[in-house]
Symmetry: C2
Subunit: 383 residues, 2 copies
């Protein structure tokens, strides 16, 4: 099988290293952007060299971002090449367009590497779906934020110190917002829900809250109360509707999810006959993510790849409900307008006010966040 | 696809209930033993009715035990019918014989349901093995013993009280020895190691120790030291050798495995590029185990089933090493003959003596156990 790689960073580097030992798979061309890095004969700066090469059966896309990734993927599919991608942003944004183009051209479009890194999450979701309706999923799907939350919990450090360590270790970007504000998890949540519920999911309809404003005082209070905070993707469905949200949650300290350490990920599903299944592993990194891509490649080459159909028409509805912990910084007085009617108890934490709500919807809580984007409000749902 | 079920207990009942909703799969015959239970037209008391029915493509075996399960499986394979089994004892004992018969007859022999119940463990081990050499695996593979250990840890109860509760809830048999002494886990360990390392494994070569002699005093000491006890299967390999053992282990209380609750199972592997992967779910029960069987059936019917080859010649060697906690009941004086030279520290626990050893092999520890089978010695390896 002749393969082209789009990009040659961490992920495609991992794919290249794994495929080196698999003689059935030949990396014929590699698209790179920087002329100074044209170090191998198979490298090219021109995507047309790949698109027009009829010997290339499969294109791996890991350049990231929306453009030109979208155009490359569509061009490859329209040239009747299978596409395997690790690019969660472009898949979350254009999933149904890619699925339709793959179907039209009789080729496969595979996304294992977009969600959960090395965890065989997408494949197992699809396999469970052969028998069960998957009615719930959740998980820790971002290693950077889990590294930060774990270090804050285990070492008692404050957010900014831990973020600095994560940046020094290469776990967090110089601009960490995609990881800590939930954008990255939201893309993975949209992709996972679309696969699990077999329906189109508008990523922009998924509310998100991140961990930017969590403090040592929050963590200390959670600990005193036997709780651990994790950043979760959550999605559920009933007969005709689904719901999905990305936000911090509070778990009992003796749960499996609460004890996921460092930059590891965990993904969890509930199916009617199989019950609860949880999958744990490396959520990022060149070799684990490369492994996920190569699994997709092998599945295509051995006729083990599943088609994605989005066979169900489902609507987004308010299904997820929960109690929330909300820490409101001193000076933010308008909060009672938003959550005054769902206050179960209120107490002070340093100069701040904490409200624990009665059971409510994410929409209610996120309306408070939206109205106070410039304030350091921190929320977490009791899971 | 026409299917025959051997047995109609909890597991085949689960298979039947799941297949009811899948029109592609027809349960044509069911073998039962008790004439008083011949309640459906498709039921028979005579295996020959199934063996000689050329319309039956696939036989599900869940009668348990070694005989006549072995004879039925071989007869079905020789009649060119695929076989899917949940019977860990017969697979652990005759795995290579079944694999050879399946190969000779051009049919599939599938064992997902033998190990880990609803957890998609065998399939994912095989998938990881397409890319990586799996060098280590471990896990909690018996729900009954995990229920007992979890309840002792969380509720502070003693072994006999918790065992009684487990029996009342139907989690433990009247004779619980297969679950609490490690026999059940040993079968699953042998099957998992054979799949993971792609080699024949003699189940009788795997040393086993169980949880029959654990006491509240042990659990209290573990808690004081931040440890949790679980019954583990462990298997490792190097280039030409493998090792496997079933015994209680001591884990840090903030590890994922330590927090596996109730009767749940977890299975863990390490692969060179994928890193650590852990899979959690229901390790038993009619619907989860039935789900595992139906996944095998679908894989066969859709040409997604993997062959098992045992392609590698490997020898069993002493690779696993660790420190041990050993509680020696009062009056057992010969223990120093066995472990005097590996004593790191000794202390008393009630009337008993506890030895914590330096790093050693399971063989060394199990020689002490073998010489004192009638004594309530409890051992656990620091994991």
């Amino acid at each position: 099988m002749n393969i082209a790689l789009l990009g040659f960073g961490v992920v495609c580097g991992g794919v290249y290293d794994i495929l080196k030992n698999m003689p059935e798979y030949n990396v014929k061309k590699i698209l790179i952007r920087n002329p100074a890095k044209l170090t191998m004969d198979c490298m090219t700066l021109d995507f047309a060299d790949i698109e027009n090469d009829s010997e290339i059966d499969l294109v791996v896309e890991a350049i990231g971002g929306l453009h030109p990734a979208r155009e490359y993927i569509l061009a490859a599919l329209n040239a009747k090449k299978h596409v395997v991608t690790a690019n969660k942003a472009v898949v979350a944004a254009y999933f149904d367009e890619f699925v339709a183009a793959a179907k039209e051209n009789g080729v496969k479009f595979m996304v294992e590497a977009t969600s959960g890194g090395g965890i065989p999450w997408i494949k197992n979701l699809q396999r469970v779906g052969r028998i069960d309706k998957v009615t719930k999923l959740h998980g820790i799907m971002n290693g950077t934020s889990n590294f930060i939350l774990s270090a804050m919990t285990c070492e008692g450090k404050d957010f900014s110190d831990v973020l600095k360590t994560a940046q020094e270790l290469g776990y967090a970007e110089a601009d960490p917002s995609a990881d800590i504000d939930g954008d990255d998890v939201r893309n993975k949540c949209a992709i996972s829900a679309a696969i699990a519920f077999d329906t189109k999911v508008d990523v922009n309809s998924i509310m998100q809250a991140g961990i930017r404003h969590i403090t040592k005082a929050d963590i200390d209070w959670f600990k005193e109360n036997g709780l651990v905070c994790k950043l979760f993707a959550t999605a559920v469905c009933d007969k005709d509707n689904f719901d999905a949200v990305v936000e911090p949650v509070l778990l009992g300290c003796d749960t499996v999810e609460a004890n996921v350490p460092k930059n590891y990920n965990i993904t969890c599903l509930y199916g009617e006959t199989i019950g609860e299944v949880k999958l744990y592993g490396q959520g990022a990194g060149g070799l684990p993510t490369g492994n996920a891509i190569v699994q997709d490649i092998i599945d295509i080459n051995t006729n083990n790849a599943f088609d994605i159909s989005f066979g169900k028409e489902m609507n987004k509805a308010e299904i997820i409900r929960g109690k929330y912990y909300i820490r409101i910084p001193a000076g933010l007085e308008n909060y009672t307008e938003f959550i005054g009617d769902i206050t179960e108890k209120t107490f002070t934490l340093g100069d701040d006010t904490v409200v624990v709500t009665t059971e409510t919807t994410p929409a209610k809580i996120h309306s408070l966040l939206d109205a106070n984007k410039d304030k350091a409000v921190f929320v977490a749902r009791y899971f």
